[in-house]
Symmetry: C2
Subunit: 542 residues, 2 copies
């Protein structure tokens, strides 16, 4: 329940769901050999200055000072704190690999909190931090963490996607995202219909198809148009040349950033900004032309010709092309033809020959990062390693002939706990209510007695909650509230218990329980002695 804008209280049933999800995470973290810790929600601004992240987060940080005017933040993530903690306590490679995780609250002053707990300002996350003494060992850790994530999401029985991802502000160069496709998702995930290729839109690329004839002849140059952007420092004007069959909105700014990381993708009016920068700066202005591969090499050549029909900038601009540092880009950093256009359904998969790409909106539920030494360098988190165990390029300083100090190789692996709860609630809900997967349902089963069957219901419930032979106890709620029978049935649908056991008319006549499962579209009358087996069979599918 929302208490303040984007801030929520968790009520009893939600609390049970969260506890179950936490237990599930504990199980897989324990399999990974990770130990649970609990870091303070309060972090100091001084620490965040050491890693240069204080300014980057900007207004998303809740900042405050204590009574002595020491500046703090409410931590949105804990790389700084955990690295400092490990730097203080771990000195030798023999204590590594080290895997520490926590499940706790994090804070982000979102500009637009929305979709309830899917994007709230106080949220619960699991964050695992890994420490290794070599890159090789860190990559092994990364793979183990990914496998644990796969098993965890498998147990949730959700149609999740694992996407290759860019690592954004957090740093590092190996990263995967776990997504749940959803129309209210804020990410776009690209997947191949044939092979296993899945990537976040920011990283995805389609295989370029050689330009068709009508693009490669001069007569078709008229079909090109330009999108103009500018760098954040206002010194570089960017012209993106692309076929007129697409529109401005199709321009893939993520792809542009691969050649101009400083591109200001939030602006629409580049020319005036560039013009005023021209006047105020003494530097030689830069003009970057990015040419979509679909326009063909012929177009690129004609563009370089000053007499081209395509103006590099508006003619009234008081500058000559010869005064500019003009560059022309026709291929990506990896040497492939440059694709300036967003991926569309039906584009060609970059990995396989026959697959087509599909775009889906999705909710990000988890993220794995290999961080490398970004934080351990900045915060001096080093261990002593015998020189003989060091790989190339890892040595920081040699203390003696035998022992060397290296920055720890780190990984960071997050799961959005409140995000998963919100996404699952949203994904599996139907018009009658929620529909929890068994693994995180507040209760696996609810027993609803008809009038005057309360005592029988207690007996039935007790038989299910006791361990019996090979069967584990069932996590069950008995609805003994003083509401009406129809109200209880409706409420059970709303809450979304995986299985509902009703003691109704058939109980009175034949001692049969009605077992309902909305998700499997299942209703059956079952005698008590077969009840547990019947329920277990249903639960195993949920």
């Amino acid at each position: 329940m929302e208490s303040h804008a984007g801030i929520f209280h968790t009520l009893p049933l939600g609390e049970r769901v969260q506890k179950k999800l936490e237990n599930l995470i504990d199980k897989y973290m324990s399999q990974l050999g990770a130990s649970k810790v609990s870091l303070s929600s309060i972090s100091s601004q001084a620490l965040w200055q050491q890693t240069n992240r204080l300014e980057g987060y900007g207004q998303e940080l809740f900042r405050f000072t204590d009574r002595k005017d020491v500046p703090y933040i409410l931590a949105p993530t804990h790389e700084e704190e955990i690295t400092t903690l490990v730097a203080k306590t771990i000195k030798s490679y023999r204590s590594l690999p080290l895997r520490l995780y926590q499940i706790g609250r994090k804070y982000r002053d979102e500009i637009r909190p929305r979709h309830g707990v899917l994007r709230s300002r106080e949220f619960v996350m699991k964050d695992l931090y890994t420490f290794d003494y070599s890159l090789q060992s860190a990559l092994k850790t990364y793979e183990e963490a990914r496998c644990a994530y796969n098993r965890l999401f498998d147990e949730l029985k959700l149609p999740y996607l694992v996407a290759e991802a860019s690592s954004g502000d957090i740093g590092g160069d190996l990263s995967h995202e776990y997504h749940l496709p959803s129309p209210i998702g804020e990410d776009i995930v690209i997947s191949c219909t044939e092979c296993s290729y899945v990537a976040n839109e920011e990283l995805a690329s389609a295989r370029p198809i050689p330009p068709q004839d009508h693009y490669s002849t001069e007569s078709n140059n008229a079909q090109a148009q330009v999108w103009r952007g500018i760098s954040k420092d206002r010194k570089t004007l960017v012209n993106v040349w692309y076929p007129a069959s697409f529109s401005d909105r199709d321009i893939n700014t993520h792809a542009l950033k691969s050649v101009l990381p400083g591109l200001d993708s939030s602006l629409e009016n580049a020319i005036p900004l560039w013009q005023s920068a021209l006047n105020s700066s003494s530097q030689r202005p830069r003009l970057l032309n990015i040419i979509d591969y679909r326009l063909g090499q012929h177009f690129a050549t004609s563009l370089k010709n000053e007499s081209s029909q395509f103006p590099m900038f508006p003619t009234q601009t008081p500058v000559e092309l010869s005064q500019l540092d003009a560059q022309y880009i026709t291929s990506s950093t990896s040497g492939e033809p440059f694709n300036t256009i967003h991926i569309h359904d039906g584009d060609h998969c970059p990995r396989c020959t026959s697959g087509k790409l599909r775009t889906q909106k999705a909710i990000e539920l988890g993220h794995t990062f290999h961080l490398g030494t970004k934080y351990s360098d900045a915060l001096d988190a080093r261990v002593q390693v015998p020189s003989t165990m060091i790989e190339d390029g890892q040595v920081i300083s040699t203390k003696s002939d035998n022992i060397t100090s290296v920055s720890m190789q780190m990984g960071c692996h997050g799961i959005g706990v409140s995000r998963i709860i919100g996404a699952v609630a949203n994904h599996l809900a139907d018009e009658r209510g929620l529909n929890w997967p068994r693994a995180i349902a507040p209760f696996e089963v609810v027993v609803i007695p008809g009038r005057n069957m309360e005592d029988d219901a207690t007996t039935v419930s007790r038989s299910l909650t006791e361990a019996s032979g090979i069967f584990a106890p069932i996590d069950l709620a008995l609805d003994d509230r003083s509401e009406s029978f129809p109200w209880k049935l409706k409420d059970a649908d709303l809450v979304g218990y995986p299985v509902i056991v009703v003691l109704g008319r058939k109980w009175t006549s034949d001692r049969l329980c009605e077992v309902q499962c909305r998700r499997l579209d299942h209703t059956e009358f079952v005698p008590v002695d077969q009840l547990r087996e019947h329920i277990n069979k249903l639960l195993s599918q949920l």
Copy 2:
């Protein structure tokens, strides 16, 4: 481990201790029929203004604003939030009694954080809030909560004291504290050596013993002296007259506050403040004389005589006694002789005839409050009740002939989770290390193998962690780290596992495990087939 001043990270073993304590609390809260919730750590200043607590907390609140300049606080307690939540969702008496609790972080910008987690700025508490529609039902709830607290502290096997307490800023008029006696405690608990009387120093009183002869004669007036205090509004000078056999430090300011709640007990220099207030105020200044019963009635009489040898205020003060509103107090609000002196060991118990009082420093671990309608009135938390069910004095407004709206009767019951961990660690530690009670030990047992006995230790451990017949699985750690055998033994003592099982020389020769229990001063060699029973016997005493 301290991350910033008074702010701590919880490491893996501490996290296990905390988890066990949380599970223990969950057990007793569940017995009480309380449901678990989780309220936001962020609360709005506007809400706290409605209950007039924003200013009272003053600098102890961490305050901040979000990007839209809305003012928030990090909540030190949750009466405001829970009352608002319940007011929104509960409308009928049929939903009551309602008992909601949470275990979570709270924040207090302590002026002097100290003793680690015993007084930290971020700490974990369990807080239970109860809602009833009548006082009678609320008092029943209060008693049930107290019983649950007793059972919980019993299971921790600590020598706790339950003290009658004053309810301080939180409001309400029925309150008990749960204390652990400790030399580093910041509270003082008074208990009787004979009867069950236990009270916090703030509330405790000793039975006044009639003044002895030498106090009651005029000649002994010379043995009186005065302590001067002043009210927070600087309008009332307080003279406390007491026997010269005591000193300033013996003055019981709690007792003084019972007749002058506005007393500023933090000041030492009352006279100058009173003098400057005399000049600036047009009101008739007040002079309050509180006379300790030990000085006798005769002294009080002579004091009222203006020619008394005892000056009401320094002679140089530019005011006449006749200009003052002078009052003389010789008995407490309940009509007993006024005792201005702190309770000392050996004072007489107020409840029984023969008992003597004992003072002990103690750490407060828990607190129960009956709040009444303080918060429900302020935040409009009311339920509809049939008029026939209303007790006298409870009616707020009558909606119809039959239905009445009443403010809910609330209770609030806290347990300091990090405080208990700190207090227990401190209380049971000896020179070799910590010493956890079984109920919250990170592991109940540690198994330490000698060299080349690792495989045998795994087998032994496995036999103990599997459920077997009537025996529950033992919560056990196997120390399979690559450290030396003596180092592991020392570390096990430091950590404070209740029971240590060593596979050493006697294992090689006779297949006997060495079972150690430092707290019970116990060491015995036990064959494997008797190990579990032996360990269970020890654990049941810890």
